[in-house]
């Protein structure tokens, strides 16, 4: 049986729809979608199983944008990097346009990633071998620096980032293994679940904010019913924008693939770094969305590079898929290309098919659905959104404690929103803070607190210089921009 049989195609289609459902709902992640599928997959023919898995992975990350567009709740952490922007586009123009940008750039980003996966798996894997904890430290710092400067108000951005980092310190110390700030509560031993925080800061805070501001601006903000059809907005306007920004798209996709193929970095970091770079260059909302969406999907293909050629998973998703490979008697590594070349080639083809066909299809379905859904006034939807938030938060660990956490964090999110503190930076702190700490501690323990070791490897020096240039350059730019306003 091959990847191009009717069964495989159907499996990919079903996988794509299933993945999209999991991806778009908060609390149901791509990882969960794959792991629930595995007990079924082991009894299927490998080509059918992998078609479905590729369908799931291809759409699950992209579909995170559907939740972000419709209700400002990112379905997956990778979409959190540009949730504000994509939601704004959906509100101001039309959800179909917002999802059109995201789906088409996701598809093309994924395509770029796959092309690199095909062309340079073995060579790039050698680059991954250059990355020890020092290099990761500088890379994560680059993500943080760009994120802090990307905030409109640097002080508020820094504070929000700090709050995020503080929240992330709850739980086991990543280096020494001692519990921190858990107040003797076993529920806090593992830290605050990142997904619960996402749902609280975006979803619950948004609902609360809507209730809070409803009386103030009583004018129901009658939505202009879009004159053009969903298809025109999605493919027409979305496609034109993507074509106009093709250079940005290519840049972001290359960056995304690069970050994706570094084991442990993954699509979240890719989306943050490339959307932040676009923000730094004062990009429009559309440009930020485009660069984020293309790079996180490029990163999905990128994570397969070390997985296929070295057997090191790039993220949890590929870790599960690697397990599947072994289960089916396929061992990753250079051998894979020698012994199972036919299988690998078909895998690549399936990947391309999934990007080009499934993403636009699922995106279009999502856009059509949302366009209908959003005709209902927001205040009637609030209850349903709140319910979705509660169910999503409970679904992750099936732990009632997470529901209390949801309320507390939701209130914090509301306060921050009212005070003008960027939620994006807070989430950035939660994602990158622990990584920074972990690589810092690992490096320090490894070298017995020898700080010069951070500059002793070539790639580390290059990344350190990038950080320095970014800081100096951005401070200079801010100075330049501030001058004409205050002569």
């Amino acid at each position: 049986m091959s990847f191009f049989s009717l069964e495989s195609f159907l499996a990919m289609m079903l996988g794509a729809l299933y993945g999209a459902l999991f991806g778009s709902l908060p609390g149901l992640t791509a990882t969960l979608a794959i792991s629930l599928f595995i007990p079924i997959a082991i009894f299927l023919d490998p080509t059918v199983a992998f078609s479905a898995i590729i369908g799931i992975t291809a759409t699950a990350i992209f579909a995170g944008d559907i939740g972000a567009t419709a209700m400002r709740i990112p379905g997956t952490p990778a979409s959190a990097a540009y949730t504000e922007e994509i939601h704004q586009i959906g509100k101001e123009r039309s959800p179909a346009f917002a999802l059109g940008i995201s789906a088409l750039s996701s598809a093309l980003g994924s395509l770029v990633g796959v092309v690199i996966l095909i062309g340079g798996s073995l060579g790039l894997a050698q680059v991954a071998k250059q990355f020890s904890s020092f290099e990761y430290f500088w890379l994560v710092l680059l993500g943080i620096v760009s994120g802090v400067f990307a905030s409109p108000s640097m002080a508020k951005g820094l504070i929000a980032f700090g709050v995020g980092m503080l929240i992330a310190t709850i739980g086991y110390d990543p280096a020494l293994g001692t519990p921190r700030f858990n107040f003797g509560n076993p529920n806090l031993l593992g830290g605050i679940s990142f997904i619960v925080a996402l749902i609280a800061f975006f979803g619950v805070a948004e609902v609360l904010n809507n209730i809070y501001s409803y009386h103030k601006s009583h004018q129901p903000a009658e939505k202009p019913i879009p004159k053009r059809s969903v298809a025109q907005e999605f493919f027409g306007a979305g496609g034109r924008l993507v074509w106009k920004e093709r250079r940005l798209l290519l840049r972001s996709s290359l960056l995304g693939t690069f970050i994706g193929f570094l084991p442990g970095a993954g699509s979240d970091l890719a989306a943050w770094i490339s959307s932040n770079f676009t923000r730094l260059r004062r990009g429009s909302k559309e440009q930020v969305t485009l660069s984020g969406a293309s790079s996180n999907n490029a990163a999905v293909a990128g994570t397969w590079i070390p997985a296929l050629s070295l057997g090191i998973p790039g993220d949890t998703l590929t870790a599960i898929v690697l397990g599947m490979f072994l289960t089916m008697g396929i061992t990753p590594g250079p051998d894979l290309f020698a012994k199972n070349l036919g299988f690998v080639v078909q895998l690549y083809m399936a990947f391309i098919l999934a990007s080009l066909l499934m993403m636009p299809l699922v995106g279009y379905l999502g856009a059509a659905l949302i366009s209908t859904l959003l005709r209902i006034p927001m205040r009637l939807l609030l209850g349903a959104v709140m319910g979705l938030c509660l169910v999503g938060a409970y679904a992750i660990n099936r732990n009632p404690f997470d529901l209390y956490l949801l309320v507390v964090l939701g209130l914090l999110g509301l306060l921050m929103q009212r005070g003008g503190f960027p939620v994006g930076q807070l989430i950035l702190g939660m994602v990158l803070g622990p990584l920074l700490e972990q690589y810092l501690m690992m490096s320090l323990i490894k070298t017995q607190w020898d700080l010069t070791a951070f500059f002793s490897r070539p790639v580390a020096v290059v990344l350190a210089v990038c950080n320095l240039l970014l800081i100096v350059g951005m401070l200079w730019l801010r100075g330049q921009r501030a001058r004409p306003n205050n002569p």
Binding site: T31, L32, I34, S35, L36, I38, P39, I42, A128, K129, Q130, F131, S132, S133, F134, E135, G171, Y172, P174, A175, L176, G177, T178, P179, P186, N187, L188, L189, G190, S193, P263, G264, S309, L310, G311, I312, P313, T316, A319, I320, L322, G323, L326, T327, M328, G329, T331, P332, G333, P334, D335, I396, N397, R398, N399, Q438, M441, M442, I445, K446
Partner: protein, 317 residues
């Protein structure tokens, strides 16, 4: 005399009820709690075992992931379940690790161990271009240069850290002779190994197998009792005169005070389930080594591991 008869009668009725209860078990679906997230080795084992177990017991077995707190939430859910046999779970090596036990207040005594299912033995892994060709050379080198080389595998005081500590203790060395660099798990440790950040990794055989097959890393020795079938050329530490074995384990367990008759019945069901050909095929492919022990052997195994780990706890201070 009447009183004696009365007491005897009550005891007899109680005993009969217990027998009857035991015979009627199970009459409704059983929940199998997995304390780790979907997709991991514990989850994969539970999910492939559940349907087989359900067929044998005649009632569906439902797998529930209770994650969080570094495994504390799920283990607590098993320990605090009703001891009626309808809440069981899979417990892991953590329950005998002193650091974990201190933090979570959950120890091996909180459970009725039923059957050991899987052992994931640990290997000593080095980079392909490492100076040591054999484990003996490696041991001699760290004895000659204590503190020069760095090891990793997981967090400080995590499972593989104990594998290293036990190994060091048996060759007569202390914690500082081969310092531990904390990593966020085996994949991160292996990335450090091949990028030159550390010199040796202590991870399970399966976790490193892809890298070894790709020629990027080598196994020096396994911490097993016997040679490992998939890699017959790699010696065990025992062969080299180092009396140390270490494996993370998956064990079926019920809450404490579960009726012995129910526990026995579950024991028999697990014994039959691990021989199911589909399950065996799946586990082989997934590089998970089925290592079944019955009720009594499992209890002894858990007690022995508990003692061995407690002895190592002093070394950490």
């Amino acid at each position: 005399m009447k009183r004696v008869f009365g007491i005897l009668a009550v005891v007899a009725v109680l005993a009969l009820t217990l027998v009857a209860l035991g015979q009627r078990y199970p009459v409704r679906p059983i929940t199998l709690i997995v304390p780790w997230s979907p997709g991991g080795s514990t989850d994969l084992t539970a999910r492939s075992l559940a349907p087989v177990l359900g067929n044998i017991l005649g009632q569906p077995v439902q797998v529930v992931n209770r994650t969080g707190g570094g495994g504390a939430i799920g283990h607590a859910a098993i320990a605090q379940g009703d001891p009626n046999g309808y809440t069981i779970g899979i417990i892991t090596l953590e329950v005998v690790l002193p650091a974990w036990v201190n933090q979570t207040k959950i120890n091996a005594d909180a459970f009725t161990p039923i059957a050991l299912l899987v052992l994931n033995p640990v290997a000593i892994v080095v980079r392909k271009d490492a100076p040591w060709k054999t484990a003996q050379e490696f041991i001699a080198d760290i004895k000659a240069n204590p503190g020069k080389y760095k090891a990793s595998g997981t967090a400080r005081a995590g499972s593989y850290d104990y594998a290293r500590l036990g190994f060091l203790k048996k060759i007569g060395l202390k914690d500082a002779a081969l310092p531990w660099v904390p990593a966020q798990g085996a994949a991160a440790a292996l990335q450090e190994l091949i990028s030159g950040g550390i010199n040796v990794a202590f991870v399970s055989i399966g976790e490193a197998s892809a890298l070894v097959k790709a020629g990027e890393a080598r196994y020096l020795a396994f911490m097993t009792d016997r040679r490992f079938p998939a890699f017959p050329d790699v010696p065990t530490l025992k062969e080299l005169g180092v009396d140390w074995t270490f494996a993370s384990f998956l064990m079926a367990a019920a809450p404490k005070h579960t009726l012995p008759s129910v526990a026995r019945q579950l024991d028999q069901a697990f014994a039959k389930a691990v021989q199911d050909p589909e399950f065996v095929r799946f586990m082989n492919n997934a590089n998970l080594v089925i290592n079944h022990l019955n009720f009594d052997q499992t209890k002894a195994f858990l007690a022995e591991r508990n003692r061995a780990m407690a002895e190592l706890a002093d070394e950490l201070k």
